[in-house]
Symmetry: C2
Subunit: 339 residues, 2 copies
């Protein structure tokens, strides 16, 4: 329980018989000091246990070594993105401040303000809606969008190729002979929903199958694990009440998928015998479930890594990177025989 205050540059300078400017230089590898001086200073630093006061540095430089991450919630998908971000931040010597918007635009914008006040080097944002009302974006403190796009501003964005991924998943179901395919979507106001729907529609169109809006259900705008699972559950219940219910269901996120499966269970519908099913986002549980589910898997970790890359690129060369990472369809046992 040592209470004495942290040593400063002055302490190091005094001990090493140099000026604080010199200490600062060796600290920042400015290569303006003689080899001998560098060695001596470094020795003193280690000896007295000096480490830089980042607040002071941030104040002077107008920028901290912090990166902000704002996601709607901490579900496993966003957590894996965080993993990727943390991994890559290591390289740039950045640390990550996390915050959740809980799908509230007001809260999201407050969080941006808070992060800006912390002088963060940049913000990675999974926006709550398809427009961004936030004007204070500079080259120095850029916002990089992740997962979800926005219509009214040009920003770097790292996302998944939702259209293609959902097109392929739907195609697989079509190839297996299904004509009535239920689609369960999340909240209508975000780009991923629009794009996933788009992929589905394109696949049906390619087969000249009419879109039946009754087969497209929204899991609701609800926040929270339980509410989303309920959304998936309700979606299936609604579909199965139709005069002509679907013979296959495609759930476009993990929680929706769990809710949908719960409903199917209750209805005693066997997968894949009575109902074909494709889910979203892989999870270790799927290795031991029966049947093993065919799913669309997102490269979340990679998305996180690339977001930090894009952030750095934007800061260093003002380049606006827009990347659409491929979604992987992992065929297992839940949608019939054809592989």
């Amino acid at each position: 329980m040592i209470q004495k205050k942290r040593p400063t540059l002055y302490d190091v300078a005094k001990e090493a018989n140099v000026s604080i400017a010199t200490v600062s230089n060796v600290l920042n590898n400015k290569a303006e000091a003689s080899e001998e001086t560098v060695k001596r200073v470094n020795q003193v630093i280690k000896q007295i246990g000096y480490s830089r006061n980042e607040s002071a540095r941030s104040l002077k430089r107008g920028e901290s070594k912090l990166i902000g991450l704002i996601v709607p919630d901490n579900n496993p998908f966003f957590t894996e993105i965080l993993d990727g971000i943390q991994h890559e931040c290591e390289y740039y010597d950045w640390q990550v401040v996390v915050a959740t918007s809980e799908e509230s635009e007001k809260r999201q914008n407050q969080l941006i303000d808070l992060l800006l006040a912390q002088q963060v080097s940049g913000i990675i944002l999974a926006p709550v809606s398809d427009t961004l009302s936030y004007p204070k974006i500079s080259k120095k403190t850029p916002i990089v969008l992740i997962d979800r796009e926005v219509e009214n501003v040009t920003l770097p964005v790292i996302k998944a190729d939702n259209v293609d991924g959902c097109y392929k998943a739907t195609k697989t179901l079509l190839r297996n002979g299904h004509k009535r395919i239920g689609l369960i979507l999340a909240s209508p106001g975000i780009s991923t929903t629009v794009q996933r729907r788009h992929g589905y529609v394109e696949a049906l169109n390619s087969q000249n199958i009419q879109i039946d809006e009754d087969l497209i259900q929204f899991g609701g705008n609800y926040t929270g694990t339980k509410a989303q699972i309920d959304g998936g559950y309700q979606a299936v219940m609604n579909m199965m009440k139709l005069t002509s219910p679907p013979t296959a269901i495609f759930a476009t996120n993990h929680l929706l998928m769990i809710g949908a499966l719960k409903a199917l269970n209750e209805l005693k519908l066997n997968i894949p015998k009575d109902m074909s099913f494709i889910g979203f986002d892989d999870h270790p549980w799927q290795e031991i479930s029966t049947p093993k589910f065919t799913i669309v898997s997102q490269p979340a970790f990679e998305m996180g890594k690339q977001a930090i890359h894009a952030l750095h690129k934007y800061k260093s060369s003002n380049e606006t990177i827009k990347t659409s990472l491929p979604l992987q369809l992992i065929i297992r046992e839940s949608c019939g025989t054809e592989k």
Copy 2:
């Protein structure tokens, strides 16, 4: 894309015709300004969109509004803890910097240094081992332990009552007639492992059943989801090779549980017919699995909340809170008939 620099206290002061000290006072609710002045200053603040530079404040006060969280990895248990922490930080106007130690002590200590350099108000730590080699702990920047305890330092700690929880789980198995109960533990070097083992041993002792070390398997010190699942898998495989294999298995964390179930699947052992099973940590998947698994559930969210509480308490009154939250045994269908 507004590039002009952020307004400062001076800008506000000039615009409101007061000194910067006054602006600072109203900003900090120091109640030393007349009502009229407060109103005018607040109006100017809103008008020019001022928000405080936290780096400057942190430098002056020697403390930022940041809280550090160091966990071994971002598995769902720790993510739920993060949720609780974030929730509670809202109240104290703190933000959370997250970092993962990846079960490396060296990395853990580096991260503590980095966080201290950020002048964090405190650190919540799930330590990688049962001793803490870190000396720089003050009342101002305390470390609060979460989930895992440490032997050599007295610090606030918020943990689960692992002994009791595992005692009860084992007792349930014993009551159902099992005498040979396999126990799958995580890494031996951490307090949770020791305590979970202790609960198991106590339960067997209460029944005068000899401990068979062959029935106690460690999932290994491995980091990463896959390695831990493999650990659980291997543990079961080892146990089932015994001349007298267990008739019930208790897996003491979620990943270990998944691995164990995978092994049991492969061995075509039906739960609960051929094998009783109790797992750890609840998950929505369990609502739709067959059978529904009996598990020990941890109050992770609550632990996160209480950790922030304990941190605040320690800072304000130097009180060292030690809390052991009850574990909940959720009886479902995986360990026989008796409820």
